[in-house]
């Protein structure tokens, strides 16, 4: 067995596969939000692209949702999985030859599935809209990577199992079952109100049992490295993980408060939603406790910047989500843009920013190159954070206003007309974020192909600056 000094940890990583996944993830990180901007324009100009059936609202929205969840986030997570797991285990990935096949299977299958949505194929389950042939492909990919992750951990040389591996293993195992449930059982074997209740569970399992644990795996891995500090508390990691695993499975039906679903199941969903404050505040304490003593890294490292700001949005978005489940708050905010603010604060503000941080950390190091342009990274950061802060703020505010108008007896159309200036601001904020994303992903692509080389061998290269 070679020692760590003789064999750098990157020697365990299949560079080609990781970089391919991360660069394709970077493409989806631009593409999927751009569809969101197009959709937001439709709020301002109702007939924008309305003459073309496959560019209508009903067909493009699933492209945006599925593109962000399974294109931008999941593709990048796959790449980061192939980077983090071997380094945490001290061995190469189990069945490494599968990874290259998975790359093509995933990207080609996902692209075809995404194209099928505007063509009119849709399973009719929100966040589970791909046609069945595509779902078989997605399920196969998840099963293959789950086997790779579990078997790599089983063959590890590192004695301890770091918290990132707990979250990743759980995320993959949960998703293998949830994806099968949401796509092969839910659309065909549940009807009426049961279908709605089960859909509430499915969609929140996508968020809470895939996006959340996979995202937390990323920040737990990269934050101590970017901050150059030990993780604040192993004990808090345990509490955060197990409280998420215990409470999240009950959250889903909070989408159907005041519905015909049994009252006690709604109450359990509300309680579980509020109890999620425990894992969220626990991990936030762990993250900010890790930064204490080395805040200068926040200025120096774009990885640290995106992680720390993402953690702030995580705190805000999750508190919004927990309290939103309460009956009194739900009465005000249901069917309003408050819900859209919450979903964007969590999915984009938190998890997309965290995987973006992962890109900034891994791409320069694996390609052995300096970040191509610090100025582009700066523009990426500020346009993203500035644009997104405006978007989240505007959506939250207009949600509360809509709710207030509807509660005070205003006509629904009247409440829509009153939202016009807010929707326009949201579009401008989205365009700002999109420009930031284009600059950022171009910067990362150029880093991989044309950044200044740090050393002859990427495996022995010194640390890149700013990444």
């Amino acid at each position: 067995m070679s020692s760590v000094a003789e064999r750098p940890a990157d020697a365990f990583v299949d560079r080609t596969v990781v970089l391919r996944f991360l660069l394709s993830g970077a493409f989806w990180l631009v593409f999927a939000p751009t569809i969101g901007v197009i959709l937001s324009i439709k709020f301002n100009f109702y007939d924008f692209l309305g003459g073309v059936p496959w560019l209508t609202w009903g067909r493009l929205r699933p492209v945006h949702v599925m593109g962000v969840v399974f294109g931008a986030f999941t593709t990048t997570i796959f790449g980061l999985t192939y980077y983090m797991v071997p380094r945490l285990c001290g061995v190469r990935m189990y069945k490494e030859s599968w990874s290259r096949a998975i790359f093509w299977l995933w990207n080609l299958g996902f692209t075809a599935a995404l194209i099928s949505l505007p063509l009119g194929q849709n399973l009719g389950i929100e966040a589970g809209e791909f046609p069945t042939w595509a779902n078989v492909l997605v399920e196969i990919v998840f099963v293959m990577i789950t086997i790779q992750v579990i078997m790599t951990i089983a063959r590890r040389r590192e004695k301890l199992i770091y918290v990132t591996l707990w979250y990743l293993t759980a995320a993959y195992v949960w998703t293998v079952f949830n994806y099968a449930f949401g796509h092969f059982l839910l659309p065909f074997h549940f009807a009426g109100v049961n279908n709605a209740a089960m859909h509430g569970l499915y969609i929140h399992y996508v968020v809470g049992l895939w996006i959340t644990p996979a995202g937390l795996a990323v920040i737990y891995y990269f934050l101590p490295l970017a901050a150059q500090r030990p993780l604040y508390s192993h004990k808090l990691s345990l509490i955060g993980f197990w409280s998420l695993a215990f409470f999240y499975p009950f959250v889903g039906t909070h989408h159907y408060i005041y519905s015909p679903i049994p009252y006690w199941t709604q109450t359990i969903a509300i309680v579980a939603s509020m109890m999620l404050i425990i894992p969220v505040w626990t991990v936030i304490q762990n993250f900010y406790g890790t930064m204490v003593g080395n805040w200068r890294r926040f200025q120096q490292s774009y990885t640290a910047k995106f992680l720390v700001i993402g953690a702030l949005f995580y705190l805000l978005g999750c508190f919004q989500g927990s309290t939103e489940a309460l009956r009194e708050v739900q009465r005000l905010t249901h069917f309003t843009d408050f819900v859209i603010a919450h979903s964007h604060l969590t999915v984009f503000g938190t998890f997309i920013l965290w995987v973006t941080a992962g890109l900034y950390y891994v791409i320069p190091r694996l390609s052995g190159r300096e970040l191509y342009s610090r100025k582009l990274a700066q523009w990426h950061y500020w346009l993203t954070i500035g644009g997104f802060s405006v978007m989240a703020g505007v959506l939250t505010l207009q949600g509360l206003l809509q709710g207030e108008m509807l509660q005070s007896g205003a006509d629904f159309v009247e409440s829509m007309v009153a939202m016009k200036p807010y929707w326009f601001t949201r579009t401008l904020a989205g365009v700002t974020m999109d420009i930031g994303a284009i600059l950022g992903m171009w910067n990362l692509y150029m880093t991989a192909v044309g950044g200044r080389a740090l050393a002859k061998s990427p495996a022995h290269a010194p640390e890149p600056r700013w990444a």
Partner: protein, 52 residues
């Protein structure tokens, strides 16, 4: 914020990834939050199990 007790400050090192973690502490303010939420959970479940 800094755990200073020697047991809490004990560090696990993950040699292949270069990550370190403290055994760490659970801050008192978080324990207070857990307690309040636990009490509220019991109250809410009992009070709102059925519609009033």
């Amino acid at each position: 914020m800094e755990p200073d007790d020697s047991e809490h400050a004990e560090i696990n090192r993950y040699e292949y990834s270069g990550i370190e973690e403290r055994h760490g502490i659970i801050p008192a303010w978080l324990i207070a939050v857990f307690t309040v939420l636990g009490v509220w959970m019991v109250y809410y479940l009992v009070r709102f199990w059925r519609p009033a």
